[in-house]
């Protein structure tokens, strides 16, 4: 079967959505994975976006922005950001979500705020130094990280992105691991998986360190370890993720009208 690594990643993420779930989706891969799931196996899933756009499916291609007219066209309800992000997401009513990242660390902490010169990170120097590269900030991802019952992190699997400790925690995963989230009383459950273009990592139930759970037909345990910036542990049950079925690929490509994942 012919498919790209990003298509495999989107399908693997989509498979994590179950029918009937209330899910918040962001632009790009997140929406693609979510609407693929709704089309493929979760027809009663309720996806929405962070401004409070409910009941809609994209029209004319994936939206440029999550409240773009492509997603507003057939909505059944428009409310507001406090409703979507605070009443639904931050209060643990949302079942599932996807967030992206520029960096992720072994406890699933995510950085989307900036990249620092090595050694100049705020947590290393005890000062809020300026980043070398300013990124976008957390957007609604912090709200998802503290509040969603569970969520997935999607990432391109590269050593420079998979770090022992991210430069800046934009959206908290399990912080220092173990029960560290409890101190902050976060209502949500934390990240359930890191899904990449090479495989799937899941947290150890006790230490909350992310370990390798599965690889794809085109990747391997060794390749994934090599592309991870921390000493990645491998699950004794590590397995290959089933390849996309023809139906899955067809459904994915129906959502990805413009073929962004085949590039």
């Amino acid at each position: 079967m012919d498919y790209t690594k990003n298509e495999m990643m989107a399908i693997a993420t989509g498979r994590e959505f179950k029918d009937g779930e209330l899910a918040i989706l962001g632009v790009g891969l997140s929406m693609l994975a979510g609407y693929f799931a709704k089309k493929n196996h979760a027809p009663n899933m309720n996806p929405f976006t962070e401004g409070g756009v409910y009941g809609s499916t994209p029209v004319g291609g994936l939206p440029w922005g999550i409240e773009d007219n492509r997603i507003s066209t057939n909505a059944t309800s428009f409310t507001n950001g406090i409703d979507a992000l605070c009443m639904l997401v931050a209060s643990a009513k949302v079942d599932n979500a996807v967030i992206g990242c520029a960096q992720v660390d072994k406890y699933g902490n995510v950085n989307t705020t900036g990249i620092w010169e090595d050694g100049q990170q705020p947590w290393k120097v005890g000062k809020y130094t300026l980043p070398k590269t300013r990124l976008n900030g957390s957007g609604g991802a912090n709200d998802i990280a503290i509040g969603a019952k569970k969520y997935m992190i999607m990432a391109q699997h590269e050593k420079r992105r998979f770090l022992e400790r991210v430069d800046y925690i934009s959206s908290p995963g399990y912080l220092d691991g173990g029960n560290a989230r409890e101190k902050y009383c976060f209502p949500g459950g934390g990240p359930a998986a890191i899904i990449t273009n090479l495989g799937i990592l899941r947290p150890d139930p006790v230490t909350k360190e992310f370990i390798l759970d599965a690889y794809f037909s085109f990747s391997s345990v060794e390749e994934i370890i090599e592309n991870t910036g921390w000493d990645l542990k491998v699950s004794p049950d590590v397995k290959m993720v089933p390849e996309p079925t023809a139906e899955e690929l067809a459904n994915l490509r129906a959502v990805d009208e413009t073929g962004s994942l085949r590039k």
Binding site: E50, G51, W64, S72, T113, N136, D143, S171, R181
Partner: protein, 327 residues
């Protein structure tokens, strides 16, 4: 009550000043924010702005690119699929603009606290991460404990963050329809426009359409911003361009990319200003600048049917001129 219609030039000169705390944020970057108001701020050279919103937008990107923003409190500083906001990024990386990070949920909660007249909002958002520990206002302190202090819930003794209230000097709010008194209807997500209209000391509306008050009496539940909260109403067709206004027009993909590319450098910014900011004065001229064909194309929005129930109350350009006393 009373006719509050004024021109964009008058609105900016009357309601903005250097050093003010300025709130906007009708939508996400590709959504309904007050781009035209920002262009007029640039034309009038307003500077030293402290910007408040959950999200950045092309207006912020532009104002930052010309050095007009000294400080910004924001949840998301990018342009969604269109990438990083190059003008803002340049200003932040150079240290010209101080950026205080929050999230898209914590910023609206701070505005809600401002609207409610309470000093802070308890929340679990933004705490336990570098959003709590890093304060751009106090860069020498890490971890910072004063930006989002952790307090105890008096009922259980458990930790919860305290997000400080924001009360902006001015909120400029894009709306789909307004009457001359300032009653306003928004199509599409409200984001934090409802809360902003209650939190800010002054409120200026930028509207795609001016409609008769009869429209408001037929749809009072849609009127989420009542007139008495509003200081001025500006008629601004295509005023969100190149972003989209739900029910009116789609985003201008080509220009969105082009604009952001130009704002990457100082030279590009100057060229962009000449071509797309200082090249027109009226909204009729703006249509020429965008290009009639492009306007027609993006106005063929799949969302256009959302405007149908209200079209019979829309005031024509001639009627609006009359209402503005020919100004």
């Amino acid at each position: 009550m009373g006719n509050k219609l004024i021109s964009m030039q008058e609105a900016v000169s009357k309601y903005t000043w250097d050093g003010m705390t300025f709130a906007h944020g009708g939508g996400l970057p590709v959504g309904s924010d007050c781009t035209e108001f920002f262009r007029e701020m640039v034309r009038q050279g307003v500077k030293d702005i402290n910007s408040i919103s959950h999200c950045s937008c092309q207006g912020i990107n532009l104002l930052a690119a010309v050095g007009g923003i000294s400080r910004i409190e924001v949840g998301f500083s990018g342009l969604e699929v269109y990438g990083f906001a190059n003008g803002l990024r340049r200003a932040v990386e150079s240290g010209q603009t101080i950026l205080e990070d929050y999230s898209n949920g914590s910023m609206p909660l701070r505005i809600l606290a401002g609207a409610l007249g309470i000093p802070f909002m308890p929340s679990y958002i933004s705490v336990g991460s570098d959003q709590e520990w890093c304060s751009a206002d106090e860069p020498d302190v890490y971890p910072n404990t004063k930006k989002i202090p952790v307090i105890q819930d008096p009922f259980t003794g458990k930790n919860v963050g305290a997000l400080s209230a924001v009360v902006p000097d001015l909120a400029v709010i894009h709306v789909t329809m307004a009457d001359v008194n300032g009653n306003a209807i928004i199509l599409g997500t409200e984001w934090s426009r409802f809360e902003l209209s209650r939190a800010a000391k002054k409120v200026v509306l930028q509207a795609d359409y001016i409609v008769d008050t009869d429209c408001m009496r037929q749809y009072p539940n849609l009127v989420r911003i009542p007139d008495f909260l509003v200081d001025a109403v500006v008629y601004a067709p295509m005023g969100v361009w190149p972003a989209c206004s739900t029910g009116c027009y789609d985003s201008d993909e080509e220009h969105f990319y082009y604009m952001n590319k130009m704002l990457k450098t100082e030279e590009g910014t100057q060229e962009y200003l000449e071509k797309y900011v200082n090249s027109y004065k009226t909204s009729e001229e703006l249509v020429d600048v965008i290009g009639k064909e492009k306007v027609d194309l993006i106005s063929k929005s799949d969302t256009a049917f959302l405007m149908d129930p209200y079209r019979k109350w829309i005031k024509t350009d001639a009627e609006i001129k009359e209402l503005m006393g020919g100004r």
